[in-house]
Amino acid sequence: MTAVPVSIGVKRTPATRPIAGALGNSMFVIDQSRCIGCRACVQACEECGTHRGNSMIHVDEVDRFQSTQTTVMVCMHCEDPTCAEVCPADAIKQNEDGIVQSSLKPRCIGCSNCVLACPFGVPKYLSAFDQMMKCDMCYDRTSVGQKPMCASVCPSQALWFGTPEEFEATRTGTLVNEWWFGNQYVSTKVRTVADEPGPVDVLGGAGERPWQDDPFGIEEGVA
């Protein structure tokens, strides 16, 4: 197994924050393995009155030549958000409940420091608005007890919103919300699903699905 080593570095202790806040006991979970690339999330995100026709979600094909696998990325809402730390204008604010907001329009100078610094590649600089905008976990919805729009519509529930108990009862996989990027430790409010805890084997091949190495039996001379 080709394991990606976990980086070694000084682990900073994250600031203590209320767990509940506006989201109550609910959490946001991304399960990339379930993404079908339909972009319902992107289309729905555009509908928000606060960013008018622009989606804050990234859906990407991993390698369309090889696979239909896509990935979906919303803001991970870091406990210590790098975007805010690198912002020279102090334009990116974090709510008490841990939601990291889009840049404040009067402050944002459009420098794109945050776009470059975010370890997850989330913020976007939108020239039409001359401002950085990003996912705020539908604060207009979640702050009044509604589910975020993307996790509401997602047909495969690759984007999921609910309580840990609901997750335990209905879903599989290990939830991950701690990351190392080189020496930088990041803890996020949004969780992703891994098959199992520990280092991720990114070059491990088809694993339990051997057909994926040769979908059409070409090597067997069948197709």
Binding site: R34, G37, C38, Q43, G53, T70, W211, A223
Partner: protein, 745 residues
């Protein structure tokens, strides 16, 4: 005179598709909507619940409808952006009449004139050539009320036998197979059964793109540990996650299922009690596959023998299992046989009538289920009755209050109607909700046929490509402009609610039909004040038929969030799961095994046309694209057809990713960009079919029909593929470039 009055390019420039990018009143309009309307999506058979936001009598956005049990708020991109068909610049607002001298090709006329002209042409043609020389084509994006009304309208107002519908291109193979083998044509299970299956076998269904919400049900099964098997010539987005992938050659589905049945018999993975107590015909079905060893199956289907055996083992040894199929096995000259071969697998292993057990089609069109039950088909009367059965005719005549002889006999199917037009036997046509120039195979032939019509009238909300041939265009209503019911993929009857009135002088579809009926002097059969009146007559007309809606009322649907038919009486709870206790709806109550021998498709590859072509859909477009090709954000997602081709085949032809390729069949030729991917068989190319004109995949496809269901063989053609030019050759037309507009505009 039904030739396009001006060139196709000029018509497109005038009538679209143009792209609507943002809601009426701007992006803020939805923030303080005037009202919210609970209804359902206008697109596929899933019929997801959705809340539409309305402001100033325009639908300006949506909100998830979390309480609706099927989708619990989930939507695909089409559902999210569906509201952009409202306040659309292409919307037809006035009746039109063909006028080659006008720069627009059509001139605006009054309703009075348009209806008079239509009725006088109907009468002229029928007097000159006989009643059946005037045909009607319809579609099942229409609700149950309109579907029922059109069945009655064609028979009693037009008096023609020749009414058929676009479900002929969709669900009919499953319909024939289900009715003959099981005695009823409906999904075997509510979707809530999918998560209870230990094995989910998806055959010929691109679930993630064509029935996206079903993905979440499959995942719930997998969360319980279910195995997922997918059979498809392409590794579709859901197939990527399958435990077992059967990448079969197009047109070999019955060989795959037959081989699996062979293995089930050989290994005795059979439910003998179920076969004995609840079925008939097992011996003949087993005999038919006696020679279908895994090695034979591998040779015919191109799927490694070990994988077919593995699939049979999982299917045969799992306590519960659902086999779900769609157009991938049904769009064939043996579409009915393919479905029978699938049903045989269910009957042999007792996978019917129990939680998590069933074999079911995934109905494609919006009201593909309800619209195929109540007289919309050329051989059918309401309640899924048979138009040639004297008792059925007597009953419907008694409901309609007409003489039984006034009900015409069996007519021609959709493709056969077009062929009869081409032969000059049918001279006049009225169509609604059907765009055959895009959706029927062999586009050139379809256009030639339409050109020969003496008179063609269309009811539609946009001027779809078929309507380019029209003499009279009657502007009708969108889904959100009328109320009624539709029946979902599960067999659940749901309520559609109106959000707004039709704009301009557009009118509600059924009001137009009633006006025509009155002018034809047949108004006495069409005394309806409301869509609910129509539904209440449908209930009575369906009573006692195999699709019995008698116990379903609009009030019940609203309060119960849908009712599953059969529902024979008002106190009946409805029937979510069919065949419980092993009771089938056949005369003797037994499920019928049908012997299925494999036979090749109508067209096979040869030296001249050495590559298989199969067609299908993409997530962001719906059917012939009349609506979705007009919605900017959906067009942006997949702007033009691409030809998926395996790198091995591409290399042998000197084709690189993005190159323009020419694909040629015996019917026609088209050029389009190549998408080189390892996710398709190396002997097969795939082209999605949603586009018109020179981008229409159906320029290539074959008019060969299934002998029983009369569905065309869209899924198998033989083609030649050549490199036509380098990447970057402009094939995207100018309208698609409009996408790059400033945000918020």
């Amino acid at each position: 005179m039904a030739t396009p009055p001006i060139t196709e390019e000029e018509l497109v420039a005038r009538y679209g598709p143009h792209l609507n990018q943002a809601p009426a009143g701007g992006w803020d309009a939805g923030i303080d909507a005037d009202r919210e309307v609970k209804t359902h999506c206008c697109f596929c058979g899933q019929q997801c619940g959705i809340i539409l936001k309305v402001k100033d009598d325009q639908v300006v956005g949506f909100e998830p409808w979390y309480e609706f049990p099927f989708n619990e708020g989930k939507l695909c991109p089409k559902g999210v952006k569906r509201y952009l068909q409202n306040a659309h610049p292409d919307r037809l607002l006035e009746p039109l009449e063909r006028d080659p001298s006008s720069p627009d090709g059509f001139r605006q006329v009054t309703w009075e004139h348009a209806l008079d002209r239509t009725v006088s042409e109907i009468q002229r043609i029928q007097q000159a050539y006989g009643k059946d020389s005037f045909a009607m084509l319809s579609g099942v994006s229409l609700d149950n009320e309109k579907s029922y009304l059109i069945g009655k309208f064609a028979r009693l107002a037009l008096g023609t036998a020749n009414l058929d519908y676009n479900g002929r291109l969709c669900m009919v193979s499953a319909g024939v197979a289900n009715k003959r083998a099981l005695g009823i044509d409906r999904a075997s299970n509510p979707w809530a059964d999918i998560p209870l299956a230990d094995v989910v076998f998806i055959a010929g269904a691109n679930v993630a793109e064509c029935a996206p919400i079903t993905t979440s049900y499959v995942w719930r099964a997998r969360d319980r540990g279910a195995k997922l098997i997918v059979a498809d010539p392409r590794v579709t987005p859901l197939a990527r996650t399958a435990d077992l992938f059967l990448g079969l050659r197009p047109g070999t589905d019955s060989a795959l299922f037959g081989t699996m049945l062979h293995v089930l018999v050989e290994r005795d993975w059979l439910d003998h009690d179920f076969i004995r107590d609840h079925t008939e015909g097992f011996e003949a079905a087993a005999q038919a596959v006696r020679e279908y060893t895994p090695k034979w199956g591998e040779t015919v289907t191109g799927v490694p023998a070990a994988r077919i055996e593995q699939a049979a083992e999982w299917w045969g040894t799992s306590a519960t299992g659902m086999l779900m199929h769609a157009r991938g096995i049904e769009h064939h000259t043996k579409g009915v046989e393919n479905v029978w071969a699938a049903i045989n697998l269910g009957l042999a292993t007792g996978k019917y009538g129990k939680p998590g057990c069933g074999v079911t089609t995934i109905t494609g069109q919006g009201n593909g289920q309800g619209g195929r039950e109540h007289g919309h088909k050329c051989d059918q009367l309401p309640g899924n009755r048979d138009i040639t059965n004297p008792e059925h005719r007597e009953y419907i005549a008694s409901v309609w209050g007409c003489d039984v002889d006034e009900i015409p006999g069996k007519g021609l199917t959709a493709e056969e109607i077009v062929e009869a037009i081409h032969r000059g036997e049918i001279k006049g046509l009225l169509s609604i909700c059907f765009n055959p120039v895009v959706s029927l195979p062999d586009t050139t032939f379809t256009k030639e046929a339409l050109d020969k019509l003496e008179f063609y009238a269309v009811i539609d909300f946009f001027l779809a490509e078929t309507a380019f041939h029209a003499d009279v265009v009657l502007p009708g209503s969108l889904h959100e402009e009328d109320e009624g019911t539709s029946t979902t993929v599960e067999g659940r009857v749901v309520k559609l609610n109106a959000s707004k009135p039709p704009p301009g002088n557009a009118r509600i579809d059924w009001h137009i039909l009633l006006d025509i009926a009155r002018r034809l002097g047949r108004g006495k059969y069409f005394d309806f004040e409301s869509a609910e009146d129509i539904f209440n007559e449908l209930r009575v007309a369906s009573k006692g038929g195999s699709a019995d809606y008698y116990g379903i009322t609009w009030d019940r649907i609203e309060s119960e969030l849908g009712v599953f038919w059969p529902c024979p009486s008002p106190d009946h709870p409805g029937t979510p799961r069919l065949f419980e206790g092993g009771r089938f709806y056949t005369e003797n109550g037994r499920g019928k095994f049908m012997p299925v021998s494999y036979r090749p498709p109508a067209e096979v590859v040869d030296d001249e046309y050495p590559v298989w072509l199969t067609t299908g859909r993409v997530i962001s477009q719906y059917l012939s694209g009349t609506q979705t090709r007009r919605i900017g954000p959906l067009v942006a997602q997949y702007p033009e057809p691409l030809c998926e081709i395996h790198p091995k085949l591409a290399a042998s032809l000197g084709i690189e990713d993005g190159d323009v390729v020419r694909v040629t069949s015996r019917r026609g030729s088209m050029t389009l960009p190549a998408k080189v991917v390892t996710t398709i068989r190396p002997d097969t190319v795939f082209i999605p079919y949603h586009w018109a004109g020179r981008r229409a995949a159906n320029q290539l496809t074959n008019r060969a029909l299934d002998p029983l269901s009369k569905i065309p063989e869209y899924k198998v053609s033989a083609v030649r593929v050549e490199r036509a030019g380098p990447a970057g050759t402009p094939v995207v037309d100018a309208r698609d470039m409009d996408l790059h507009t400033e945000p918020g505009t």
